[in-house]
């Protein structure tokens, strides 16, 4: 049963990912990316990581993508949305990407990952994650908090009309 669900999610995810890079209108790409992110969140649930799934929906879909759309709309990208696609001068990428993908798949999955077990059926609880985050991973957590402050200052300073 889980496998069937996974295959459905995976198929939709790949389809919408392709849509992200092929659609001409950035707003449509954003919609496709939202779909893809939601599918990946569903896969997280299947992989017994419900907290990560909701974090993905909360931060990525709920905030990051809104930011994207906001910028697309503020800048009124309608006029600039059309671009020649496919682009002839980069034809070689079309040739290389599928080859690398196949190679990646065969190489990575060829011999498998011997250290990996079958996986448990229990979902990771928030309590466990929270404890780990504030003990073992306290240092990176604090670094990320500084990083968010820096990013906030940076984003504001870039966008604010400083003086004219």
């Amino acid at each position: 049963m889980e496998k069937v669900f996974f295959l459905i999610f995976a198929a939709v995810a790949v389809g919408s990912a392709l849509a992200v890079v092929t659609l001409k209108n950035p707003v449509h790409s954003a919609l496709a990316l939202i779909a893809c992110l939601l599918q990946v969140a569903s896969v997280f649930v299947l992989l017994r990581s419900p907290f990560l799934a909701v974090v993905q929906v909360f931060i990525y879909v709920g905030a990051v993508m809104v930011l994207f759309l906001f910028v697309v709309m503020v800048l009124d990208i309608r006029q600039a949305r059309m671009e020649a696609f496919p682009q002839k001068e980069r034809w070689f990428v079309y040739a290389i990407v599928p080859v690398i993908t196949v190679e990646l798949l065969t190489v990575i999955l060829g011999k498998g990952f011997p250290r990996l077990g079958p996986g448990s059926t229990e979902a990771t609880t928030v309590e466990v994650l929270g404890k780990a985050l504030f003990t073992e991973y306290l240092f990176p957590f604090e670094v990320v908090s500084v990083l968010l402050l820096a990013a906030m200052v940076g984003a504001i300073i870039m966008v604010k009309k400083r003086w004219d």
Partner: protein
């Protein structure tokens, strides 16, 4: 696991810098626009405090241990690189005082973002876990993206920042993919645990190859190694010049610190795999960087290509994969910081009024009217070219020795050949300065900050060239394998 006072003491320098940045954000409100240099002065003072704490840590029993559950190492290696980035930050801030006024970008956030970036570099220098490596890397990069685009009204600055941020994020994603594979292969992200599993040999070699390729590619982006260098020339040219100086020195040193630690400690057992890839990147960087630099007319662009070339030299030390190689990279980074900041100090001095000081032709005949400045510039250019008795020569020599001791004579010969090529475009500027007649009167920016930087950089370049022993010994002691 409860954290004690020891963990806090161990990260005191980082706390100082990050805390100073946060406090200065508030202080900045109280300072009127025309006196924003005060924020820079305060920033320098705090960095000096951090440096004092770093010295103080060397005497405590925290030295040589890891804290925060093995995430963060306090050792000679990290302290060495922290000093390089402290120097880069302090000297770049000194270079900025005049320049930001000239360009009309004197905002307090300019210095504050530099401090944030500095704290990221410090985290990188001490990172003992791939997770810490990643967050440190991003904390270093994000403020630099913004600083590159700090000249809001200047399209070149905006474009440089845009290219830098897109390619930076792209490279981070590639690096992360490599890290995720390493995690899957070894079940850990701690460098020691990764090394332990890798040396047991029971890993999927194909997937390991992919992971190593991804990590080499991701890190090569950060040090602007060919073929992952495309962002460098545009970002260097577009950025405010003191930021160009800063990013050509600080982030590069921090990235090398991380590369050395990750490859030598974490992926040490996979030496055979990454050695050949890094050698390829190094050779490509040497050839492409030095040959393309010849054709440049803009001095910042030329220095961008030259920095690509220098990344190639430094990488060669890592390719050797020995203790000597590691310490040669450390020495190279320290010396490169001094001589590069020196060159940029001269360039910033040339930025005044209508004179941009970024075109190479603008330097024609400098020696006729400003003998001292031309001499100083000559010293730095000779150092970058690797002419004895400057420190640049010693640094290159030391890298080549590491290669030769490892038996890689071919690589060493190629590198020597490339430094001959490099000498051409550095010395071309010297010729311009001394042999040509000046086109017009030179205007020079006189600022105490720039003089200090020139003095420090000149002294460092000359003294380390004549008496290199002291710093080399320090690097050897602080090397990963003393």
């Amino acid at each position: 696991m409860i954290f004690g006072i020891k963990d806090v003491i161990a990260v005191l320098p980082e706390i100082t810098v990050a805390g100073a940045a946060s406090c200065l954000l508030l202080v900045d409100f109280l300072i009127p626009r025309e006196r924003k240099s005060a924020v820079g002065v305060l920033a320098i003072i705090f960095v000096i405090f951090a440096a004092i704490f770093s010295i103080f840590l060397m005497g405590t029993d925290v030295m040589g241990t890891t804290v925060f559950a093995g995430m963060f190492a306090v050792d000679g290696f990290s302290t060495f690189f922290k000093y390089v980035v402290y120097a880069a930050a302090v000297l770049s801030i000194m270079l900025s005082f005049h320049y930001v006024k000239e360009e009309g970008i004197n905002a307090g956030e300019y210095y504050i973002l530099m401090l944030f970036s500095l704290s990221g570099m410090m985290v990188m220098a001490s990172a003992k876990d791939l997770l810490t490596v990643y967050v440190g890397l991003e904390l270093m990069s994000l403020p630099v993206y913004v600083l590159v685009g700090f000249m809001q009204g200047d399209v070149r600055s905006n474009e440089g920042a845009m290219k830098y941020v897109i390619l930076g994020a792209f490279s981070s994603a590639i690096l992360l993919y490599g890290i995720s594979l390493i995690y899957g292969l070894t079940g850990s992200t701690g460098l020691h645990a990764v090394a332990a599993v890798l040396s047991s040999g029971s890993v999927n070699q194909g997937a390991l190859n992919v992971a190593v390729i991804m990590m080499v590619a991701g890190f090569a982006f950060k040090i602007a190694g060919v073929p992952f260098h495309m962002w460098a020339p545009d970002a260097y040219e577009g950025a405010p010049t003191p930021i160009t100086a800063f990013m050509s020195v600080g982030p590069k040193a921090a990235a090398f610190a991380v590369i050395l630690r990750v490859f030598m400690e974490g992926l040490g057992p996979a030496y055979g795999k990454w050695q050949i890839m890094l050698a390829a990147v190094a050779v490509a960087s040497l050839a492409y960087g030095n040959l393309t630099a010849i054709a440049q007319r803009n001095i910042k662009r030329m220095l961008a290509y030259s920095s690509i070339g220098h990344a190639g030299y430094a990488l060669l030390g890592l390719v050797a994969g020995t203790s000597e190689g590691v310490s040669s990279v450390m020495y190279y980074m320290a010396v490169y910081a001094l001589m590069n900041l020196g060159v940029f100090a001269v360039i910033i001095m040339m930025r005044k009024g209508g004179q941009r000081g970024t075109e190479i032709d603008e330097y024609a005949g400098l020696a006729k009217s400003h003998k001292g400045l031309a001499l100083v510039m000559l010293i730095f250019l000779f150092a970058l070219a690797g002419v004895p008795p400057t420190a640049g020569f010693v640094a290159k020599f030391y890298v080549f020795m590491a290669l030769i001791h490892k038996g890689m004579v071919g690589l060493a010969l190629f590198a020597v050949l490339m430094s001959a090529v490099a000498a051409y475009f550095y010395i071309r500027i010297v010729m311009l300065m001394y042999m040509r007649e000046p086109v017009k009167e030179f205007e020079l920016a006189h600022s105490r900050g720039i003089y200090y930087v020139l003095a420090i950089a000149t002294a460092g370049t000359v003294i380390l060239g004549v008496y290199p022993g002291f710093l080399i010994e320090l690097a050897q002691k602080a090397s990963l394998f003393p």
